[in-house]
């Protein structure tokens, strides 16, 4: 399973080539529309990483009597990668916002959702630091991640639907259809697959580093 992430070596260059060479520019937006193939996958991975952190925390809390410490490390690593992708999604989104709407930031509901997701990640790492001396740290931070995960659907799906937004809904919308030309749709799906593989690849690496660190700590004891 872990070798499947090595497909990123092939899929990522293909996704980049398709974004610049295969996909046509969107009508009205011009060449700036190519940001779609980077911004949407980054935002997707931000939410995916957070959800996986939450699911791993649920597994840690409710299975194995809190003994499966590798799950906490994996949740931490996923959150760290998610934070990085959230920063990149926010940055790419603000550049696109400047090109499309004339301002880097205008508190559109979707912009607000991604910044709140970033705040949740920052809060998680702050809490982890504040609990460094506490022996129950892993259980408490896992509980916070699960709690925060429950609030994410309210941001990502509910709030932008209550308040009007300038943001387009190319992937998730009321019709449950992707409103894009077929070449754009294929490029977008390839980019999403590439970024998902990249996330899995980095997470796998980070988990291996965590396992080595744990082993070192065990040897020192």
């Amino acid at each position: 399973m872990k070798y499947i992430y090595r497909l990123v070596y092939i899929v990522m260059p293909a996704a980049i080539a398709m974004a610049f060479l295969y996909a046509p520019p969107a009508e009205g937006l011009g060449e700036s529309s190519r940001l779609l193939y980077f911004h949407v996958p980054l935002a997707w991975v931000s939410v995916l990483a957070f959800s996986i952190s939450g699911v791993l925390s649920v597994l840690f809390l409710f299975t194995g009597n809190g003994e499966r410490r590798e799950l906490v490390h994996a949740a931490h690593n996923s959150a760290a990668i998610g934070l990085l992708f959230t920063v990149l999604a926010t940055f790419s989104g603000s550049v696109w916002s400047k090109l499309s709407w004339g301002a880097y930031w205008n508190w559109d509901p979707r912009q607000t959702s991604i910044i709140v997701l970033m705040l949740v990640y920052i809060a998680y790492f702050s809490l982890e630091s504040a609990l460094r001396e506490n022996p129950s740290r892993q259980r408490i931070v896992s509980a916070y991640l699960v709690f925060a995960m429950v609030t994410v659907p309210f941001f990502v799906f509910v709030v932008p639907r209550i308040f009007p937004s300038l943001h387009p809904d190319p992937v998730i919308n009321a019709d449950r259809q992707v409103h894009l030309e077929s070449a754009m749709k294929i490029s977008l799906m390839t980019a999403i697959a590439a970024f998902t593989l990249l996330y899995g690849y980095i997470l796998n690496l980070a988990n291996r580093v965590s396992a080595i660190n744990e082993q070192k700590k065990g040897d020192l004891r």
């Binding site: 022996p135 408490i140 709690f147 609030t151």
Partner: protein, 219 residues
């Protein structure tokens, strides 16, 4: 179980009544902030949207200064270990949750008249205004209770509580500011969506808090 919960609530209110820490600190904060804004504004009328934002910023930081105290007090006095050994976690959490909801309701009842008086606020739809304020209060206090339990176990509590609470409370603040703004202006009550959102949020958060409290509470 019910008797234990009632006993806990009585104990918490008795302690609060003796030293009045949470009520006096939180109300003093809300009072001075309202006075400072009113003084700085110098009679300049604000739009309903601005009033809603100011009111809920005051409410949020009032909650920050008062609602964590219920668990922090137990940790500081060393009584949390006694509670862990003698009461089921479910009873402790239910008592603390009800206490926080009631405490924040009392604080809101004290803050609202002060705000309405000093900011010379004319509410167009009083019933919906109170509905949004109190439903928002329930949603805030129910989401902050489990976070108060988490913060009580950590260091640097004063700074940490707003950091971990803000992202989780933002959906409530966002919806309730819009609703309060509409009830203050001429738009009044447009759809039940906001209130359903607040109720759904409170219910979901309370259910998840019950599931997680055991992991936060016990060592």
């Amino acid at each position: 179980m019910v008797k234990t919960i009632i006993a806990h609530i009585k104990k918490d209110f008795r302690i609060e009544f003796r030293n009045r820490y949470a009520v006096s600190v939180s109300f003093s904060f809300a009072f001075t902030t309202t006075l400072a804004i009113s003084l700085a504004a110098g009679g300049i009328p604000f739009s309903p949207q601005t009033h809603a934002v100011i009111l809920w910023v005051i409410m949020f930081f009032t909650a920050m200064s008062g609602l964590a105290h219920i668990f922090v007090r137990e940790e500081d006095r060393g009584t949390s270990l006694f509670l862990r050994l003698n009461s089921p976690a479910l009873a402790v959490f239910t008592a603390k949750l009800l206490y926080n909801v009631l405490l924040f309701f009392v604080l809101q009842c004290m803050i609202l008249p002060v705000y309405l008086f000093f900011m010379q606020l004319d509410v167009q739809s009083p019933l919906f205004f109170l509905g949004y304020v109190f439903l928002g209060g329930i949603a805030l206090s129910s989401s902050l209770t489990i976070l108060a339990a988490i913060v009580a176990r950590a260091g640097a509590r004063g700074a940490l509580f707003p950091v971990i609470s803000l992202p989780v409370s933002l959906p409530v603040l966002w919806v309730v500011i819009q609703g309060t703004s509409r009830s203050l202006g001429r738009a009044g009550f447009s759809s039940p969506g906001d209130m359903v959102f607040l109720l759904a949020f409170s219910g979901t958060i309370t259910a998840v808090s019950y599931l997680l409290f055991e992991f936060v509470w016990h060592d």
